[in-house]
Amino acid sequence: MATGLHPSAGDSSTIAIGTGDAIGDINKYDFRTDSPAVFKARRGIDAGIVAQISEMKREPAWMRDFRLKSLEIFNSKPMPHWGGDIAVNFQDIFYYLKPAEQQGKTWEEVPDAIKKTFDRLGIPEAERKFLSGVKAQFESEVVYGSLQEDLSKQGVIFTDTDTAVREHPELLREYFGRIIPPTDNKFAALNSAVWSGGSFIYVPKGVKIEFPLQAYFRINAESMGQFERTLIIVDEGAQVHYVEGCTAPMYSTESLHSAVVEIVVKKHGRCRYTTIQNWANNIYNLVTKRAMAYEGAMMEWIDGNLGSHLTMKYPAVYMMEPGARGEILSIAFASAGQHQDAGAKLVHAAPNTSGRIVSKSISKNGGRSSYRGLVRVEPGARKSRSSVVCDALILDDKSRSDTYPYIEIEEQDVSIGHEASVSKIGEEQLFYLTSRGLTEAEASTMIVSGFIEPLVKELPMEYAVEMNRLIELQMEGSVG
């Protein structure tokens, strides 16, 4: 077991179950040294594995049944026929690794490119090991402790989803899998069967959390799993901004990552969910994100996607009651060997709802980015308004950008706008900047940063700064 691991009930039971040892026997192992893990995970997925995951987590029967049913759905669903080419062998993957096993890597095994990026981003030592999977836990108890106290005084629940299943069954049973049912798509079904980690947030009526909540604050060995499951409930008139992940490159030896994020924003509530993901180049990142916004509520997704081999991600807002608003701002950067198939989905299911999609993509060095978006207006959603703006910047002739905008309107009295542009970095712009002393690389980077600036300025300050540094890194060596 990880040294200094947070002694939550879930973690200790993880070890005990599956070894046949009594829970109380846990102390007989000296987990501080490299004692071999006793439970041996195996590759592949079947009912046995799924049941075992549930058992190891000491889950209630309803969750175990949910997982098993989801597995059946997963098996019966075809692969998505749109998006990228998903070359994944489902039987060749570890679906659940205990933290101790995830920790098996050494710093030497982490690729140099990743280490170099850590250097350039100035990521502290402790975080580097955590982010690269060398260390299963990120130690920031100090920061987190007082914050947690503050939040819980206001009735806010902020924990990992595994813990929430045990400690908040009433909320979980009401909402878990209700916004994104396992039947939604093959990868949602997969996640529902084998999920682990992720955040659970409940913000009570009228409580407004002024600072962004970050996944960082939540200490858990499983916080960065392959199949995270996040559920956020914003009660009436409440407000939260959640920031997921971080801009540092996430390195993992497992190639399939498939998260599910479900959000409910009740009457006049507000929720903003910010993600910047920067995966290593071997990763398939197939994510389902959806929010339901009720009367007068506001939901915003801000989504930055860098790295990965293939990302498919289309955050959605379903505007369920009059006056609900949804906004999706996304940035995608595709470089060599990468395909970013990202977009957004707005569903107007009630009158007077309004939505906005702004998508910016950059393709470079043979990278491919696609915008795939849907705006749907249900019958009766009168006076709904939506606007879609998607801009693509292509940095060279090897790279590619496509737009797939879908619009389904089943109501007359609506206003829907769509604008798309594809541009290249102009020689005249480059010349203007270089004539003032910027190198060609600096000038291109500046033009690219300018291109995404309207979205970057929506990010919390430190993320905006890191986003710009990441763009610089991505741009490095792009001009020869």
Partner: protein, 287 residues
Amino acid sequence: MTAPGQEKLVISGLHAAVDGQEILKGVDLEIGRGEIHALMGPNGSGKSTLGYCIMGHPSYEVTAGSIELVEADGTRHDLLAMEPDQRARAGVFLAFQRPMSIPGVRLADFLRHAVTNVRNPDRKEGQELMPMRDFRSELKAKMADLSIDTEFARRYVNDGFSGGEMKRAEILQLAMLRPKFAILDETDSGLDADAVRLASQSIARIGGAEMGILIITHHEQLLEHNIPLRTHVMLGGRIVESGGPELAAELHKRGYERIRAAYPEAAAAERSLQDAATSNAPHPVTA
């Protein structure tokens, strides 16, 4: 002719082409530091082309001749062998006739980067920029000198600027970058009467004895506070005549008829260039 012990920009026998079409047909020009030269000439005679060639625009191919920086001790630096950013670092500046807009990039951020590079010619990519505080206070002072609202620094480079605002932003960059040699390509066009007077004064102040300036203009006002040592007239891609301030006054009053008559060869070149320009113009697209 410039004095021997003076740093100068020397252009000789310069020929340049765009898309295989020759535009400059042998330009000779010497500008010493501290001197002001005016360049006039009818539309399309090649004035901006000369500016672009000096700065290294990739669309303009120099087919013959040279552009050099010659130090006071006689050391020569071949500008044609340098990228545009290296030329900027070597102390050359071009104020654009039509500045480019760079959406999303704040004028202050761009300028801080530019100033850092130009003042530290050996700076490598990724190294520290000029300290923010020093940069800000210097920028603020320069903006005040030029009566530019400080709010401007936060705006995106030339994005949605009025014609006059763009030109003032160019002068601001000139003031911040303090080059050895500056080409000001119609920096007076688009400015209202008061702004031209202000620009004229500012340029005189910025320039001083340290800067060699080539002022490309169709008007006289900019020269009011920047009395040119020499005025040159370009026609058909060549400098056909040079003279004192009286030449600028004459051209402004009487136009280019005398010049065309006096230099029939250049006038013929001008006509053939115009024909080429019209035959190359894209045909209107029918939908």
